[in-house]
Symmetry: C2
Subunit: 429 residues, 2 copies
């Protein structure tokens, strides 16, 4: 058994710095677990003049990542630069040379996960990617190992801290979307360009990765419906609350016989659902499987320390395997018959907010169009505020088919008494 595992880190931003710091500080603790000495040998960044919470010892600092890729003494390379290139090239070259790779790169893995796992297997090495989804929450390991005996039936995740913080602020502090976004920025929870978060794209990339693990099928975030939270208004949050729901940006994937239904969108979720209590920047994943039933994994989904916790868990586990000088491949035998369930056939309940002139007969016209499209109404909130102006009419439907809802809204929005585009939010029970 080898006793030393040599590590190189490419990308020393917040997560990389934290990972390097803990590797140096807790060296003897990690070694006490399993007798392996985890040694940080090289830390690469393009700009070492940038201010950091901590600085790796000078002799470890390099600027050219090729020095890590080409170093035959390194066992594990940690890729933390993100985005597609050069990360893709770096990971491929490392795996091809037999080095194990640990990455948090959700963008890349949402496109290339199975290809890279396969490349790792063929080169008898490992790819660790726990940190790519939901920070320190052990969702990847749970799906791949703890729940391995299960058929996973559904995943509902709150996978983006920024949007969850915004929706929480809108709910608790009655803030508008814009004000909540400003608070998020002020607290460092939103990037200067928060569009990846707000649009739902970040959640979709993470959903693609965990769904690939859960359903043993390559799933890309290009394959499914993605809606962001930018159209959610304060009154939607209030009406939802009145109806007994919270509004959350959910990432959903569900097994439907031989297909998988996937989608990312804001959704109403009952107040007594465990996910309704996930506040602020926290993340959570609610899973259902044929043996374990229901499970929730909850924790900090972002931040340097939480992400480093996940990166380091991969380093420690892979280090053990490397030191045992053996390889067991982790196939992902693709279930070939599985297809993506068409979005128009999704069936849920729907929250609809119409903005209509407050005249007799308006409700009847709307209800008629809904009825014609096989949509039945479960409850209605109509508050007369000003008979001169348009007022909101809120409806919660019974289960209906997406295609029908879309057709009905299109028709309703053409009515002369309807003054604004109707807002539709799906309901997740």
């Amino acid at each position: 058994m080898r006793k030393k595992v040599n590590i190189g880190i490419i990308g020393c931003g917040v997560v990389g710095t934290q990972t390097a710091l803990v590797l140096c500080k807790k060296k003897s603790l990690f070694s006490s677990y399993n007798g392996v000495e985890y040694r940080l040998r090289k830390a690469c960044d393009i700009d070492w003049n940038q201010k950091r919470q901590w600085m790796p010892p000078e002799q470890l600092r390099i600027r050219d990542y090729n020095e890590i890729i080409d170093d035959p003494d390194l066992d594990i390379v940690v890729e933390l630069i993100g985005k597609f290139q050069p990360a893709y090239e770096i990971i491929k070259r490392c795996l091809e040379s037999g080095k194990a790779v640990v990455t948090a790169n959700k963008f890349l893995l949402s496109k290339k996960l199975l290809e890279l796992i396969d490349l790792a297997n063929r080169n008898k090495t490992y790819l660790g990617f726990e940190a790519s989804v939901a920070g320190a929450i052990p969702v990847i390991k749970s799906l791949r190992e703890s729940f391995a005996a299960n058929r996973i039936n559904s995943i509902i995740g709150i996978l983006n801290g920024t949007t969850n913080f915004i929706l929480s602020s809108m709910t608790e502090k009655k803030q508008s979307f814009q004000d909540a976004l400003l608070s998020a920025r002020r607290l460092g929870y939103a990037e200067s360009d928060p569009s990846l978060d707000i649009s739902g794209r970040d959640s979709a990339q993470k959903l693609a990765i965990i769904s690939t693990c859960a359903f043993h099928h390559p799933i890309s975030d290009d394959d499914f419906l993605i809606e962001g939270i930018d159209k959610i208004e304060a009154e939607d949050i209030d009406f939802s609350s009145e109806l007994g729901y919270r509004v959350k940006l959910l990432a959903v994937s569900k097994r439907m016989n031989d297909s998988i239904s996937l989608r990312v969108h804001p959704a109403l979720i009952p107040k007594n659902h465990m996910l309704a209590d996930v506040e602020d920047v926290y993340n959570a994943v609610y899973l259902q499987g044929d043996l374990f039933g229901s499970s929730l994994l909850y924790g900090e989904g972002a931040g340097g320390r939480a992400a480093a916790s996940a990166v380091l868990s991969d380093i420690i586990e892979i280090g053990k395997k490397i030191s045992a000088q053996s390889h067991f491949s982790e196939h992902f035998v693709v279930e070939p018959e599985i297809s993506i369930f068409p979005v128009e056939r999704i069936e849920t309940r729907y929250y609809l907010r119409f903005t209509a002139l407050d005249r007799p007969g308006v409700l009847a016209r709307v209800a008629e169009i809904l009825g014609k499209n096989n949509i039945s109404i479960a409850s209605v909130i109509q508050k007369k505020e000003n008979p001169e102006h348009a007022v909101p009419i809120v409806m919660l439907t019974h289960r209906a088919v997406e295609k029908n809802i879309r057709r009905a809204i299109e028709e309703i929005d053409k009515l002369s008494c309807i003054k604004k585009t109707t807002r539709m939010i799906r309901v997740e029970e």
Copy 2:
């Protein structure tokens, strides 16, 4: 690489039967993960005439567990008979002969975990025990692998489904303890002798196991305070609710500098705490660590399928390691300086319910004794119901020391105006 892993199960009750059933039914699925063929070769039980949900094929059924221990072709032995002996002997003999062992035996592991891990290491084999705590919830794997880079600072668990069901029923259906226990029995959630659950002993065994994993120190359930839920009355649930709390049976272990504070007891927990929403027979573990911050793992803590999910996850992982024909030992280097924090020095807030004659000056007498013992009062509920009879006075204290609370209650209970033993419930914030 070997391709076949042979498995024997000792104890075919609910969990054993479910494990055997899934092993036989999902054989090709498991094999597709990693190329290993998981083969159930022997299933042992003393009574095959008992009715079961499913029956292993006749040629696999045996009655004498020695046939499993002595079979050189078996790689993994699953021990599901529980209790101390002969389980202890069986596991030791299996590990000594190089077989891996998977067990759900919380009773045995709460006394012998480190000894058995050490025995597995010395014989270059493995001990899997995920199913011993909280059913399918991956708490053992998370502590040992996912959160391995962390210093664990605290664990608060709801680890017993029966008691959680009883407290949930008392809260939601306003049932008495006895009625709630009867419902639990009727639904199959409580054993005919539920004393292990009710007394807190079952939770304490599980807390000992996860605390040993978290703090790298041998912890037995003989080492700490254990209080059950049998003294909780319906009015305690009501008063707690009025104060903004739920009552739960909590298993708590916390790092306090160089010692660990451990205890199992009913506790008031704020309604907005994630653990307050854990209802019915569900289990959950709330963890805090220096890197991951806070995390909650929630799911089904009992039942054949959930436990089988955990047993099978250990079988699949150990099978991969065996098939790679290598061994990496998983030390538990004991942190020698850690001691158990004395219970009298625990500091929390306390809920106190006095039963006192409704006379002027009673509150003053009680408050005086509390003050003398360095206990200050945060809030009081006193409802005059009948000036002829004793009435409840409920107080919530600020943080106080256990020793002082005990001394104060002893003194208060001697007052002539106090008509029943004072009830004390700790508060966990």
